[in-house]
């Protein structure tokens, strides 16, 4: 690929959680990171705070929702007093058309509808549309992308299919120097699934629950090794302590 003169430089993407950002540093541009852990360990909060942090610092965000409707995602930010109303973002809602059987849903600036979580082609079309919009119209070069979650995609399509989709998807993230976060539920899939998908990612944020105590660690290239942190979360707040 050619390199243009006057090319942009993106420093990296912070995770949006104070202690982590100090200890771990920034996620390098072009990274694809998997967020994996058992249910109820705050993976969504990590993904959503990463998304929010993009919107806060003037970059753009793309949120692919395969679990909640787009409306519900926006509500979450409102409920937690996180103002995203003036930010540049798009939510790709793979749920509303299928679950609510609402055929009259029209795309808005904020929410783009895909016909179902089976429609991986549709998801990549909408992501491309948003990338183009941010790049060309808004001239934003720093974009954070969150998929919440892969587990829902894996319910309707087999591993091979999702792998191929992610292969293309993560490649696109790399080529625009964006950063991608991909949530996956531990224990919902056979071990092969996680191992196979892991090949596509440059890093992983792992959460675990040890007898009620929550722990997380970040392993990503270019980041300082973090080790395990003990943490608690409530709403959109994550309190972190180093062990």
């Amino acid at each position: 690929m050619l390199c243009l003169i006057g090319d942009w430089k993106i420093e990296g993407y912070s995770l949006g959680i104070d202690v982590l950002d100090q200890k771990v540093g920034k996620i390098p541009p072009g990274s694809n990171i998997m967020i994996v852990g058992p249910p109820m360990t705050g993976k969504s909060v990590l993904g959503r705070m990463f998304f929010y942090n993009r919107l806060k610092d003037g970059s753009a965000g793309i949120f692919v929702s395969t679990k909640d409707t787009g409306e519900k995602v926006i509500d979450w930010f409102k409920t937690n007093d996180l103002d995203i109303s003036r930010a540049k973002y798009g939510i790709i809602d793979c749920v509303s058309r299928t679950l609510q059987m609402d055929i009259n849903l029209q795309d808005t600036d904020r929410i783009r509808y895909v016909s179902s979580p089976v429609d991986l082609t549709g998801i990549s079309v909408k992501v491309n549309d948003l990338l183009e919009e941010f790049w060309k119209k808004e001239q934003i070069r720093s974009i954070g992308v969150v998929i919440e979650s892969l587990s829902a995609l894996l319910m309707y399509s087999n591993l091979q299919t999702v792998f191929r989709f992610l292969h293309v998807f993560s490649g696109r993230i790399r080529s625009v120097d964006a950063a991608g976060m991909y949530l996956i539920e531990e224990g919902m899939h056979d071990p092969r699934t996680q191992v196979t998908l892991k090949q596509l990612f440059q890093g992983v944020i792992e959460t675990k629950d040890e007898g009620g105590e929550k722990l997380l660690q970040v392993i990503a290239p270019g980041c300082k090794v973090s080790g395990w942190f003990r943490y608690n979360f409530e709403g959109a707040k994550i309190d972190l302590k180093e062990i």
């Binding site: 006057g6 016909s115 179902s116 082609t121 549709g122 183009e132 790049w135």
Partner: protein, 388 residues
Amino acid sequence: MIETGIPRLDDFLGGGIPTGKTLLYYIEPGVEGDVFGMQTLYHNLEKGYRGLFITSTTAPEILRESFKELGFDMSRFGDNFAIVDAYSGIIGSTSDERYVIEDPSNPSHIDEVISAAIEEFSGGTITFGSLSTIIDMVGEEKALEYIIKWNKYALIYDTVGIYNFTAWPYSPETLEKIKNEIFNAVIKVGGISKRVVYGQYYGILRVDWTEKVEKAILFKLVRPGGIKAFIPKILVTGPFNAGKSTFVHALSTRAVSVDRLGTTVALDHGYVEHKGFSADIFGTPGQERFDPIIKLLGGEALGVFLIVDSTRPEDFPRAVKMLEMTSRFGLPYVIVANKQDIKGALSPEEIGKMLNVHEEAPVVPAVTTRKEGVFEAFEILIDMVTGG
């Protein structure tokens, strides 16, 4: 003959698709290509042919709505139009469609339903809304076997088979077979991308009933309206007196300039058709006070020529600035090292270095007054724009 109903494509295919033949839209992931099959189906329903659509990513109700958004009202075709529902089974809901694939994980069941449908729709069209999903469900090898069988069926029953296929990274053998063996015609639907996809095109990869036309058509998707072809804009920019107007005229089959005292005060405009690719060419004025025009056009253009006078390195900083202005849009560009006929002209390599561009950036030597290097530069840019 069944027409595709896609602008210009039928001309390229010698009028359309003969009955019993198959055509596949080979769609790059991320490009909105599903509409191709939908448009072909609708076009033929309108012409009075019967048509069948196999849906495997979308619920039938939602599918009907997507047709409607495109301005394609399917309700008026009555029994001439039917849906094969291969979707509801995947998400575990029930279906009222005439044909239902209840167990999409069972290949012989899929085959049974589809074969019966092909037979019943003899003389009409059958459109696979997403062949890739069927391949995903059945597995690559098995799916290919079945497709070959369905295509034979189509031949026997004079049905035209239309396939939408998203070219995910399947095995090279599978992709090769799909591209070059199994279908009578393959139409590539691709994205024009430089980091982000900012344009889309289609063109013939393969056709076995007529001579292949090597042309790429750019298109936009309009709702309602469907696929519309359009002619891309290409920008010619560069410092004062570098030879921009001369370049536009050399490249174009027809062109006009608005000049005063030999310098351009508005735009040069030309139209070029070369090697199957057509474009509108816009030359910008070189003087700084016209910079807003460059910004205006840059947002619309698909590629940029930067013309420099190879004998005037003192103008290069200005050239770099102009390139920066256009590159903000992430467009591919070719640098034209013009006036190579003048003694003391710098070489393309030297110019590349002095402009401080990436070593792979194309710098094409040219004498635009003699049309030398002009079409070479155009071909390089087209290759960049269409991804080679």
